[in-house]
């Protein structure tokens, strides 16, 4: 009975909000609507409507997928300090971080689905009715760990939120093991995703053992950077309680992560350029251009400038503890890592192809529209999560026994 009331109030809550909330949701829905028309076209004509071809057979979709798995994995960067070191200012945002991870995983899975030529045969991969090629295929591993991570990152925050709603403390015996499990699991999803590419001897650009560590390092930059921006927006628009101290702590951890990321990149560049075997070609294509083809060069060079600038911003305490520079640094990381790990990782793996052909790939309008639609869908889900989670955490949305029923919420922004 109580659960039913909670459910009803939750649903009602999603449909009420401030003007900004309505506008934002309408904006996202509009993008999703446009994307659906493009996806319908792709379903009808086939993947020929993309710029992908046999030479470069994965592109923007798989690039976004890789990036978003990283964002999802980075939730642990918020969980570790909160639970292991008992750093309390972060504790409040762990639930939100995990919901961000869940949203990111949903987006990542949608990107795989968008890339799939035959979504109608999706059931073929379901164990039991179809065939899941476990443990042979790393893609099968990925399906398992990603879905597991999604479940984990939904159960924990939902459980904590419901307990809070009913005015009770979460049962530590239940929640702590799950939280602790989510830490290695986060490392797992990103490692498996790296191994997906890493395990292909045909593609020397990916077949480097440094790939998985680099994935993790860059993920621990981009995920928290996204969280920093989102939490500040929510602080202004939805009255999320979060102290600057917490933001600065996260930023400090990001500085270490970016250092490791840049160091690993340097190690890779040294090995490829100093030995300069024929396997240097993809790296050359990416950073300098190859045989007159250099579609990705301006992209990766901008990404490098962004990542290094952001690293310096987060390293120097005075810029790290200034909200303006902190936000600039976060945006630079979000974009810089997206280029490095999206197009900058996927496309050079295919160039030159195994028989030396160079096909230059940049996504076209269909791919961009569908990708934006998936991002919009993920942000919408996250927004709805927040619509419920923040009032619960603030104590505005509680069981009727403990508080008065919430009407139209009036959030006053909290001064940092």
């Amino acid at each position: 009975m109580e659960a039913w009331i909670f459910f009803k109030r939750t649903v009602r809550m999603v449909f009420v909000g401030t003007k900004v909330y309505y506008l934002w949701c309408a904006f996202l829905l509009a993008i999703i609507g446009v994307a659906i028309t493009f996806y319908a076209k792709q379903l009808d004509a086939g993947l020929i409507v993309t710029n992908m071809r046999d030479q470069v057979s994965w592109g923007l979709y798989i690039g976004n997928f890789t990036y978003l798995v990283g964002v999802a994995a980075a939730a642990v960067l918020l969980v570790i300090p909160a639970y292991i070191y008992h750093f309390d200012p972060i504790k409040e945002i762990v639930v939100l971080g995990e919901l961000l991870a869940a949203s990111a995983i949903i987006m990542a899975l949608m990107f795989v689905l968008a890339d799939l030529g035959r979504p109608d045969r999706f059931w073929h991969i379901l164990p039991g009715i179809g065939i899941l090629a476990f443990p042979d295929s790393l893609l099968a591993w990925d399906v398992i760990v990603l879905n597991g991570y999604l479940v984990l990152n939904t159960i924990v925050p939902v459980y904590i939120l419901i307990k809070t709603y009913f005015g009770k403390e979460p049962v530590k015996k239940f929640v702590i093991p799950l939280v602790l499990l989510s830490i290695p699991w986060a490392v797992g999803i990103h490692t498996v995703t790296a191994f997906l590419y890493n395990g292909l001897a045909a593609r020397p650009f990916w077949n480097a053992s440094i790939l998985a560590p680099r994935f993790l390092a860059s993920a621990f930059c981009s995920g928290p950077a996204m969280a920093l921006i989102i939490f500040q927006i929510l602080r202004r628009t939805a009255g999320l309680k979060i102290k600057n101290e917490a933001l600065f702590k996260v930023a400090e951890l990001m500085a270490y992560a970016m250092f490791i990321n840049l160091f690993l990149l340097g190690a890779e560049l040294f090995k490829e350029y100093y030995t300069a075997t024929i396997h240097l070609a993809p790296m050359q294509y990416l950073f300098q251009g190859l045989h007159g083809h250099h579609a990705l060069v301006p992209w990766i060079r901008s990404a490098m400038v962004m990542n290094i600038t952001a690293f310096l911003i987060f390293l120097i305490p005075s810029t790290r503890k200034n909200l303006i520079t902190l936000n600039i640094g976060s945006l630079l990381i979000i974009v810089g890592v997206w280029i490095e790990k999206g197009l900058g990782l996927i496309v050079p793996g295919f160039i030159p192809d195994p028989l030396g052909e160079i096909y230059e790939y940049l996504p076209n309008i269909n791919e961009i529209a569908i990708s934006l639609g998936i991002w919009a869908f993920g942000l919408l889900i996250f927004t709805l999560f927040m619509r419920i989670a923040i009032p619960i955490q603030r104590g505005d949305f509680v069981h009727s026994k403990y508080g008065k029923a919430a009407g139209k919420p009036q959030y006053e922004p909290i001064k940092p």
């Binding site: 004509a45 057979s57 030529g117 990603l146 001897a201």
Partner: protein, 287 residues
């Protein structure tokens, strides 16, 4: 992901409710089918092809013979780069002809003095006559590896190695993820980015389920050593089409076969041997 897949399935099931489409949707993987199920599937496919192309197809399902392991020999000193093999293959195997045109064989042009570094290979060239001085030609197609990296990565086992060594694809089981394309070191696989486009009068109606039967959009396909031919005692189409005798084919397990003679008496090599794919495609120089 699961729910979305179910949703896709549901929408497909409700919008297109013909019996044939339902059966096609629920079709099992070829390897799991019983003999009876194979028969039903073949009959249904033949009807579908007839409706679509107005032609009677004969879809074979001949299994591999015992004590057969197919191997291929390619004499690089004879290849003149005419690419008759490429088009004979397209014709035999019902590849899409016009936008996109799919090729299972690629004959790359290499400058004399460079063979292993394929980065300098040319893919698109159109001289008046071949061969051209200063160049050599290397045809590449699926190498039918004994340890095929493409098979290993498939998340749904839609592709596998047959007992006679031919690597095949079940076009009705492939989900179109293209992981196999990324895994192949020989560019041995191509994808139907759009609905295949073949003029009905050019169709080859003598087909094999795992080989040259007409494909659908968004699935992967590849050379099968002409499975529809070689399991019926014929040579692959490329071997027959070659005007210079560059291409050899035979049973690796038969000590008296031509391919065995070549391996034992010529200095053969295989492409990218360092990747341990154990391919069954042997290049050699007879002169």
């Amino acid at each position: 992901m699961m729910s979305m897949g179910a949703l896709a399935a549901l929408s497909l099931g409700s919008s297109a409710c013909t019996q044939v489409q339902k059966e096609e949707f629920l079709q099992k993987r070829f390897r799991e089918m019983t003999e009876a199920e194979k028969k039903t599937t073949i009959r249904r496919l033949e009807e579908t092809y007839f409706r679509k192309y107005g032609k009677k197809f004969r879809i074979g399902t001949q299994p591999a013979e015992s004590a057969v392991l197919w191997g291929y020999g390619l004499d690089l000193s004879r290849c003149i780069g005419c690419r008759r093999c490429v088009y004979a293959c397209v014709k035999e195997n019902n590849q899409s002809r016009i936008s996109p045109q799919l090729h299972w064989i690629r004959v790359v042009r290499l400058k004399d003095g460079s063979l292993i570094n394929l980065e300098n290979a040319e893919h698109y060239y159109n001289p008046e006559t071949v061969p051209e001085p200063g160049f050599q030609y290397m045809p590449v197609q699926c190498q039918h590896c004994e340890t095929p990296p493409c098979v290993r990565v498939c998340p749904v086992h839609a592709t596998w190695k047959e007992p006679d060594g031919i690597v095949v694809v079940d076009y009705n089981w492939c989900i179109g993820c293209r992981y196999c394309i990324a895994a192949c070191p020989y560019k041995g696989r191509v994808f139907n980015w759009a609905e295949p486009n073949i003029p009905a009068e050019e169709l080859n109606t003598e087909v094999h389920y795992l080989g040259n039967r007409p494909r659908m959009k968004n699935v992967v396909e590849k050379c099968t050593f002409c499975i529809q031919r070689v399991r019926n005692g014929r040579y692959p189409a490329c071997v027959e089409a070659c005007p210079t005798g560059t291409r050899k084919f035979g049973n690796l397990l038969d000590p008296d076969s031509e391919i065995r003679y070549l391996i034992e008496n010529k200095r053969v090599f295989r492409l990218k041997e360092d990747l341990n794919t154990e391919s069954k495609f042997y290049y050699f120089f007879s002169a």
